[in-house]
Symmetry: C2
Subunit: 327 residues, 2 copies
């Protein structure tokens, strides 16, 4: 049994708890929270909830600690701190800061002799892996990543900060015609506006100026100004009834050419359609937690990403079984 | 520079020659053939063609030997034989015999201290990898593999063996409605007939009994009897004009469920659309030839498959570069 700890219990932590229950070679040992542990209720009532301050007393009881905090403030501190005492895995997703995070985590985990995986999930994660592999196969070509249809938490939050807004949900939607051009091997150069549209469902406070809110959304720099954005004002009841899910997904496409005169076109497409973004991310993390455990057992240490892991390490099956059934 | 040899120069060998030209860290050292080398003309006239009997004199001049023979008779003998003297890579694709082939190649290559990769391409190969990874992520779910639209060499050959047939080309085509059910997360149980149809373009000899030929095709056990098959009789000119390509492709889909009560459905889809089956297979092989070279440099030996290779090994870029640009 691989003994797992969960550090932070929000949507992702709950997803990890569910995913562990689906993997028979793993057991959840403890959940750690910054809140009062008595106020945190797990799905599995037999697992203990502890305050984060007590985590070091579990040093010999947990094989892999799964960090479920946020990338902005939690993980840059938590992952290096915990990598000194545990094998860890996180889903750090601030793409621009991955090299810095890697260095910080690598230093600590190497010194401690632990394996620490960072940026595991679907983007970064499975999408990154597909960009890497497709680019190595089709050397002369172009990469395209489309996100959605799905909920962007960051964009929803940005709308909620506007004066007069009670609640909001934002969907990122790929533009079908752009996708078709890429799939046809046209290798188009696409602007931000040509790739995605944004659709917003907004609950306004009573008496708020709807035209002003709509204008503030559509002209918001970075978030909306570069996109064709649609705004729908709905009631709180409608929002809760129709938009409570956290679906997401997207597609990575590599279009490339081969042959004596590069006369043949090939399209590699990797596509995800996810009912629950955090539960899918959690499922990827849990598979890589198994790989983390195995790398540690083999004597490896230091920071790793999905690029460094032999795919067989994700599976509880032996090499013989995998070759016989899946190759 | 990674020094490559090509052993066998048919469609796949030619594809490998093209792919090597697209990879700046590789050079093609020699091509080996069973024919009279004088009769074999490469795209790159500066590369030497040698008889297979001379291959051992290249023992210290080639880092990775790429085997481009057939799975039925060539590779079961050639791969173990050459793995004693070279790091090798093949595209052995008789799925049922992979475990046996693995054992034979593993024994020799371990003893010799060489790395030997087998069954590299897209199926087995990239499709296998996606079946493995998607299954580890979505533990509760079902796998679906659809092939085509594309040319099946085996089925085309089977038609050509029928009395009265001059030439033929057979396309395997996935059934759209079945694909849609899978993509919708219905997890259907599909019969052979429900998954693919077969379309045949046949050139008959003058005066041949077309009705008999069509009946022989449609009732041929294993090849056609279990499928809805369409037969078109066309002229040799039409066949050469409209059906000379070797396109292929297909899709691997994993549909799985997560959540407290498995209430959320996720779809992972990996799709290929290939203008040239042998050139794409060659492109995959050449990327894994780089990995083979790197594994040997790190002191590894023995038989490996795509399941055993860290994805970063496919790339000429460093870990820093990959994390900074693709993660």
């Amino acid at each position: 049994m691989i003994r797992i700890g969960i550090f932070g219990y929000g949507n992702l932590g709950r997803g990890v708890e569910c995913a562990i229950a689906q993997n028979k070679d793993m057991s959840l040992v403890a959940v750690f929270t910054r809140r009062d542990p008595k106020t945190v209720s797990l799905i599995n009532k037999e697992v203990g909830v502890y305050h984060v301050d007590d985590v070091l007393s579990f040093k010999d009881k947990i094989d892999v600690m799964i960090l479920c905090g946020g990338s902005a403030k939690d993980l840059p501190e938590q992952t290096p701190y915990l990598a000194e005492h545990f094998c860890v895995i996180d889903s750090f997703d601030t793409h621009a800061k991955i090299p810095e995070h890697f260095e910080n985590v690598d230093r600590v985990s190497k010194k401690a002799g632990n394996v620490a995986m960072i940026s595991v999930g679907w983007d970064p994660g499975m999408f990154s892996l597909n960009r890497l592999m497709a680019g190595c196969i089709l050397v002369d070509g172009a990469d395209y990543t489309f996100w959605g249809k799905g909920v962007s938490q960051g964009h929803s939050d940005a709308i909620r900060r506007i004066d007069g807004v009670l609640d909001a949900k934002q969907y990122t939607i790929p533009v079908d015609s752009a996708l078709e051009r890429v799939r046809n091997g046209e290798n188009p150069t696409l602007t931000t506006r040509e790739k995605h549209t944004r659709e917003c469902f907004v609950v306004a406070k009573e008496g708020a100026d709807l035209a002003r809110i709509e204008n503030e959304i559509k002209t918001m720099p970075n978030y909306f100004a570069d996109y064709d954005t649609t705004v729908h004002f709905i009631t709180k009841e409608e929002l809760d009834r129709d938009h409570s899910g956290i679906p997401h997904g997207g597609v990575v496409i590599r279009s490339g050419k081969t042959g004596k005169n590069l006369e043949n076109t090939h399209i590699i497409e990797y596509k995800l359609r996810l009912d629950s973004n955090p539960e899918f991310t959690a499922s990827v993390i849990v598979a890589y937690a198994r790989a983390t455990y195995r790398m540690k057992k083999e004597g490896m240490s230091g920071c790793k990403t999905v690029f460094d892991v032999p795919p067989a390490y994700l599976s509880p099956k032996s090499g013989d079984e995998l070759r016989g059934s899946l190759l």
